[in-house]
């Protein structure tokens, strides 16, 4: 057993890769391949449960560390480690893995073992990205992720799959190249690729700005942050359901994870300089994504744009530069993975039956498919952040963190604007729901559609359970990430308890307009000569 537990991170990371290799070479028969991939994904989830239960929430540093010299006398090493932030993302990845495999049972029929091989390969690359503590290793995983995703979209995708796959690939590549330059620069400075050594570097102000920009660009494209988002709707629309689920569920989080793990602690001065602009973009993305989602004629595209909006919340949380906002951001990553993952799975369910996703093709689906309508309702509510479901906790903490942040200018204004996203979210999601599920069954093609099968329910039930579970007991995650966040944010030297009470005199308190102006826009209103 110690053979596994001593190298648990390697096992978790590479088990799917081994599975992928076997799927490409040995396990070629369709039925076998499905069960084999399922077994591997489940085994990986079980392995990751070991991490969950043996993780020491009382520490904020890396645990289960594995470090072996690799290249150039150990300047570059095989170095894996896991703190709370990595833990929750690893759990999200391994949790979604079996569900994704199960969702392809009927949906993918062409070159099945190849497809499942790519899915597992992708999972390995994502896990590696979350666990790598050596920059070269990280970069290898980061780029390796592109290959399977490229094929998943490009081979098993829809009509314009080549366009979407190439767009996805090139977008990400462009960003990554700048980051590679940054990594090489830092490597020259420190003589090691170890993240910890990078953190110890003294980097000049100018260099920090440039390096931050290079790193941030790579991550922002992946997130994607407005206005770098246009690859996402195309990729989602063209990708097969399983691809979309992984893309929205985990892959986008690699961007926000990268910001938090690398861009922010490595270049505090870059953060200080760029944070206001990033927040402006994040808030723009929240509102813009929501408004554009509202008018989409295609359900999947609508969900894709809603991701732009939700990920805007995550970025806002991270760059609110409060531990509360950052925690909310991480929580929102999970919540978004669950709710949007579920939404894409649900869109896949109807696509399998009707081979279209045009909203105007539907209407009144709740008649023949009550179970489907119920699941969709729950996912919709999770997406709009109804209290009691996971999305609310994340949004609440992000908005509250931003509102009370003093590290960034106009925290209150940002929170107010971002909060409009909560209203807009309800508008576009419920409107879509109304047009798809409610009303009369107008289109004859929708008559006699089968409700969800048991298999489809098995895929969705775990997601729904966790939406509720995390919504009611967010401590499950928050307790495990608290110290890690503190450690990651330490280089930023934030004032932890730096909130201050409003300093408003009573005369001002009688003037509501000025007061709301003051509280919302943080205009100084002190009249007592302070």
């Amino acid at each position: 057993m110690s053979l596994i537990t001593d190298h648990i991170l390697s096992w978790v990371t590479f088990l799917p890769l081994v599975g992928a290799l076997l799927l490409w070479t040995v396990v070629r028969k369709e039925a076998q391949a499905r069960f084999f991939a399922m077994a591997i994904a489940l085994a990986d989830f079980v392995l990751s449960l070991h991490l969950w239960f043996h993780f020491d929430a009382g520490r904020g540093d890396d645990q289960f560390v594995e470090k072996v010299a690799w290249l150039f006398n150990g300047q570059i090493s095989y170095h894996l480690g896991m703190d709370g932030i990595s833990l929750v993302l690893v759990m999200l990845t391994t949790f979604l893995g079996p569900l994704v495999v199960l969702s392809t049972w009927r949906a993918v029929t062409d070159r099945v073992s190849n497809f499942l091989g790519f899915v597992l390969f992708l999972q390995a690359a994502m896990l590696g990205t979350f666990l790598a503590r050596d920059m070269l290793l990280f970069y290898v995983f980061w780029e390796a992720m592109l290959i399977p995703m490229y094929f998943i979209i490009g081979v098993w995708g829809g009509q314009r799959r080549i366009y979407a796959a190439v767009k996805f690939f090139i977008f990400t590549m462009v960003g990554s190249v700048f980051m590679l330059v940054g990594i090489i620069y830092l490597y020259q400075q420190s003589g090691s690729m170890n993240l910890a050594d990078f953190l110890n570097l003294q980097i000049g102000h100018e260099a920090q700005l440039w390096l931050f920009a290079a790193f941030f660009l790579a991550f922002a494209i992946k997130v994607p942050l407005f206005p770098l988002h246009t690859w996402l709707p195309d990729a989602h629309v063209e990708a097969p359901t399983a691809g979309s689920v992984i893309l929205a569920g985990v892959l986008l989080k690699m961007g926000t994870y990268g910001m938090l793990r690398f861009a922010m602690p490595l270049f505090p001065e870059g953060v200080a300089f760029f944070a206001p602009y990033i927040n402006a973009l994040a808030v723009t993305g929240i509102i813009y994504g929501a408004l554009v989602a509202m008018v989409q004629p295609d359900v999947k595209k609508l969900v894709a744009y809603s991701s732009v909006s939700h990920l805007g919340f995550v970025v806002l949380g991270l760059f609110s530069l409060t531990s509360l906002g950052v925690a909310g951001g991480i929580f929102q990553m999970l919540a978004h993975g669950l709710s949007t993952g579920a939404l894409f799975l649900l869109v896949g369910v109807i696509y399998e039956r009707r081979h279209t996703r045009e909203i105007s093709e539907f209407g009144g689906l709740a008649h023949g498919m009550p179970i489907y309508a119920t699941f969709f309702m729950i996912a919709t509510l999770a997406s709009v952040g109804l209290p009691g479901l996971a999305g609310f906790v994340g949004e609440f903490m992000i908005l509250f963190g931003t509102f009370s942040s003093e590290a960034v200018p106009h925290g209150r204004l940002l929170a107010v604007l971002a909060a409009t996203g909560v209203v807009l979210g309800a508008i576009y999601m419920l409107w879509m729901y109304q047009r798809v599920f409610l009303g009369k069954l107008k289109n004859v093609k929708n008559e006699g559609l089968k409700d969800m099968s048991v298999r489809e329910m098995i895929v969705l039930i775990p997601l729904v359970v966790f939406m509720f579970w995390l919504g009611v007991q967010p401590g499950l995650v928050l307790d495990r990430i608290e110290l890690s966040i503190e450690k990651v944010l330490a280089p930023l030297e934030l004032d932890q308890g730096g909130h201050h009470a409003l300093q408003l005199d009573e005369a001002a308190a009688d003037n509501p307009v000025a007061l709301i102006g003051a509280t919302v826009l943080d205009t100084p209103l002190d009249t007592e000569g302070q």
């Binding site: 767009k167 090139i170 206005p227 988002h229 246009t230 690859w231 813009y288 408004l291 554009v292 509202m294 008018v295 531990s323 509360l324 009144g364 709740a366 109804l386 209290p387 009691g388 906790v393 609440f396 903490m397 908005l399 509250f400 509102f403 009370s404 909060a419 409009t420 909560v422 209203v423 309800a426 508008i427 419920l430 409107w431 109304q434 409610l438 009303g439 009369k440 009611v472 007991q473 967010p474 401590g475 928050l478 307790d479 608290e482 932890q496 308890g497 730096g498 909130h499 201050h500 009470a501 409003l502 408003l504 005199d505 009573e506 308190a509 009688d510 509501p512 007061l515 709301i516 509280t519």
Partner: protein
């Protein structure tokens, strides 16, 4: 922190309906319809019984100590932010619990009959139980965020129930509208919470729940400088939930739901959540004369505004809906003048008589084969005797006729408005009261008197409703008559027990009282009264004053109510020509404006919804996203590369001899360059 009595029963008050909803929801069609209904009713009955149990325990405590709490666990705990998942009951939430579960139970029973023939009645009872769960979370929530959970939960249930008959596009749209308009209010609520949190968080020690009402009250001093902004933001939330100007538009549309839903959610319980929340946060509101004035003004204006619309509506439920908006305005007015206990008093009496009226209208609609237009009703008095007499009880109570429930609560509101010093508020309330009596009489006459104007087909089916429907009507009628007697004011020789019961909630701790008096020094008489009422208890304020004025006002409003009723009867039963001349008055346009609800929906549609849609679709999506970002920037840069590539491609034509030529020329140029550059 003072020591609390823990009462683990509280969580079960909330959880039992949830359990009922879960069982009904999961088994759904596998349950026979009647079983589902009985199960749901039983769940609410248990909840009611538990509420009574805890209520009785509260009565056994000394007045100041009437507080029990049940902290289940920490909900959100991060750094020094701590929000508990917990419930608490004090006199205020006790009243609300009893009303919600009590009226809720009656409406469940009523639904057994009303929904007996509906295919989806299991789903209906699931939602109904879910609603009771959410509403009890709202009422019993120990902190502001728990209240918000319930707040959003009831919004969801309202959405689900309004669009219950989702086959009809209009119902689905109404449900969506309700949810979205409520969300706009929630936007304010959220910001209010953030402002409280941001102000208070740095001052909190470990283990103190940030948004806990007790903690907030203790630290009112810290919150005082931001009180105006906080209260105004919270009030935005209240305008959404309690259908006040400008966010009232969803409530009339919400009548698209089944009638029991209109009675339970859109009359008796959910819509009063805004009033409850303001009463709950009274310790902050009394600190801010500005916010109080805003609350009172919006309430009064809404009361009058909605009453005028109710004068002209032809749909029986629409009249009651606007009447509800109007009555909610009264409750807000009461809050705004600092008479919180009176506001809650009116919440309770209104729950009785408005639930009664809605259920009565449901009985009428049921009898009329789902017809809601009063113009084709009439003469139902004899065919639906029980419905008629209970309806009359509700009408008189709503019109404020002594000694029915509505008289005491409405009269107390008007008296407090008068007493607040702002006579305009009183006058608005007074005028609206007359209108209330008038439109209710119009409704009664059109529905129950005269000849029946329906088709022969419909006429032949008219029948009194089954006992499951009429029994709740009778019980509610009794409550509408006698429910106000718990709060008969002192000047009428009553004990004002209701206000005394609520006094501990609204009497401020020393720190708040002091601050409130400080606020008084700054002006605004509304708050002067608010603070006084708060610190001494509202009924004392009445008791100390000269009672002559109170007698005069009470008599005036009683006479005014009777006058309204008589006028309504006269115009619609005796002299129909007068009603017709009303319609033609001023060229007919005042009537048209009222009939079309002042075109508020149209204004919102034209000024907000459509521009936003166009902006999103044309500008943001087509121009910015597809055109500018994707077209110009993304594909533009791809195009540059492609153009450069296709130019370069001309050189790769596959002709070996061309390559040889260019190679030779290249070499020649190179050699020449080398030889001449020396």
């Amino acid at each position: 922190m003072e020591s609390h009595t823990t009462e683990t029963l509280l969580r079960w008050i909330v959880l039992v309906p949830l359990l009922g909803a879960a069982i009904n929801g999961l088994l759904n069609r596998r349950l026979p319809r009647q079983v589902a209904g009985l199960l749901a009713s039983a769940a609410v009955l248990i909840s009611f019984a538990l509420s009574v149990t805890v209520f009785l325990r509260l009565t056994g405590m000394p007045a100041e100590a009437r507080f029990v709490s049940d902290i289940v666990t920490t909900w959100i705990g991060f750094g020094n932010l701590q929000v508990d998942l917990g419930f608490a009951m004090d006199p205020l939430s006790a009243v609300m619990s009893l009303v919600v579960t009590g009226v809720g139970f009656l409406i469940h029973i009523y639904s057994l009959g009303y929904m007996a023939h509906d295919k989806g009645s299991q789903r209906f009872f699931t939602y109904l139980n879910l609603f009771i769960f959410a509403m009890m979370t709202l009422v019993l929530g120990e902190n502001l965020l728990m209240l918000f959970v319930g707040w959003e939960g009831v919004g969801l249930c309202s959405y689900l129930l309004i669009s219950f008959w989702f086959t009809d596009e209009a119902n689905a749209a109404a449900g969506k509208k309700a949810f979205i308009v409520n969300r706009i209010g929630d936007f304010g609520f959220l910001l209010g919470m953030f402002l409280i949190g941001a102000t208070l968080l740095p001052h909190l020690g470990g283990g103190e729940g940030l948004l806990s009402f007790r903690v907030l009250q203790q630290h009112a001093g810290i919150l005082a400088p931001a009180a105006t902004a906080i209260c105004l933001l919270l009030f935005v939330g209240a305008t959404g939930k309690s259908a006040q100007i400008p966010l009232f538009v969803w409530l009339p549309d919400a009548m698209a739901g089944p009638t029991p839903v209109s009675a339970l959610i859109h009359a008796a319980t959910m819509v009063t959540a805004g009033v409850y929340m303001i009463a709950r946060m009274n310790f902050l509101f009394v600190l801010t004369p500005t916010a109080m004035t805003v609350v009172a003004t919006v309430g009064a204006v809404t009361a009058l505004f909605a009453a005028t619309i109710a004068l002209t509506q032809n749909d029986i439920k629409k009249v009651l809906a606007y009447s509800t908006v109007s009555q909610l305005g009264y409750m807000m007015l009461a809050c705004g003048v600092g008479a919180f206990s009176i506001a809650i008093f009116h919440v309770m009496t209104h729950a009785f008589f408005k639930a009664l009226l809605f259920l009565g209208s449901g009985s009428v609609i049921h009898a009329m084969s789902d017809e809601q237009d009063m113009r084709v009703m009439g003469g139902l008095r004899k065919k639906l005797p029980l419905t008629f007499w209970t309806f009359i009880a509700g009408t008189l109570a709503l019109a404020g006729i002594a000694p029915l429930a509505g008289f005491f609560s409405k009269d107390e509101i008007l008296w407090n408005a008068w007493n607040s010093g702002n006579k305009v508020l009183w006058a608005i309330g007074f005028i609206a009261a007359g209108m209330t009596a008038f439109y209710m009489m119009r409704l009664v006459v059109l529905t129950f008197f005269g000849e029946n104007r329906a088709s022969a087909e419909v006429k032949s089916h008219i029948h009194e409703s089954p006992a499951t429907m009429t029994m709740p009507l009778v019980v509610l009628a009794v409550l509408s008559i006698a429910g106000g007697w718990v709060g008969i004011p002192h000047f009428l020789g009553g004990g004002a027990h209701f206000m005394t019961w609520l006094e501990p909630v609204f009497s401020q701790p020393a720190v708040v009282a002091e601050l409130a008096h400080g606020a008084v020094a700054h002006g605004a008489e509304a708050a002067a009264h608010g603070a006084e009422a708060a610190s001494h208890g509202a009924e004392h304020a009445g008791a100390h004053a000269d009672t002559t004025m109170e007698w005069i006002l009470a008599g005036a409003s009683l006479a005014w109510g009777i006058l309204g009723l008589l006028a309504g009867y006269f115009v619609y039963a005796r002299k129909v020509s007068v009603a017709e001349s009303f319609q033609k008055m001023g060229g007919g346009w005042p009537h048209k404006v009222l009939l079309n609800k002042y075109y508020v929906d149209e204004a919102y549609e034209g000024a907000i919804i459509r521009p936003m849609y166009r902006l999103s679709k044309t500008v943001l999506w087509k121009w910015v996203d597809v055109g500018l970002i994707n077209g110009l920037l993304v594909e533009g840069s791809a195009l540059v590369v492609a153009v450069v590539g296709s130019v370069m491609r001309l050189f790769q034509n596959g002709l070996v001899r061309f390559y040889a030529w260019s190679f030779s020329i290249g070499v020649a140029v190179f050699v020449l360059y080398l030889s001449f550059s020396g």
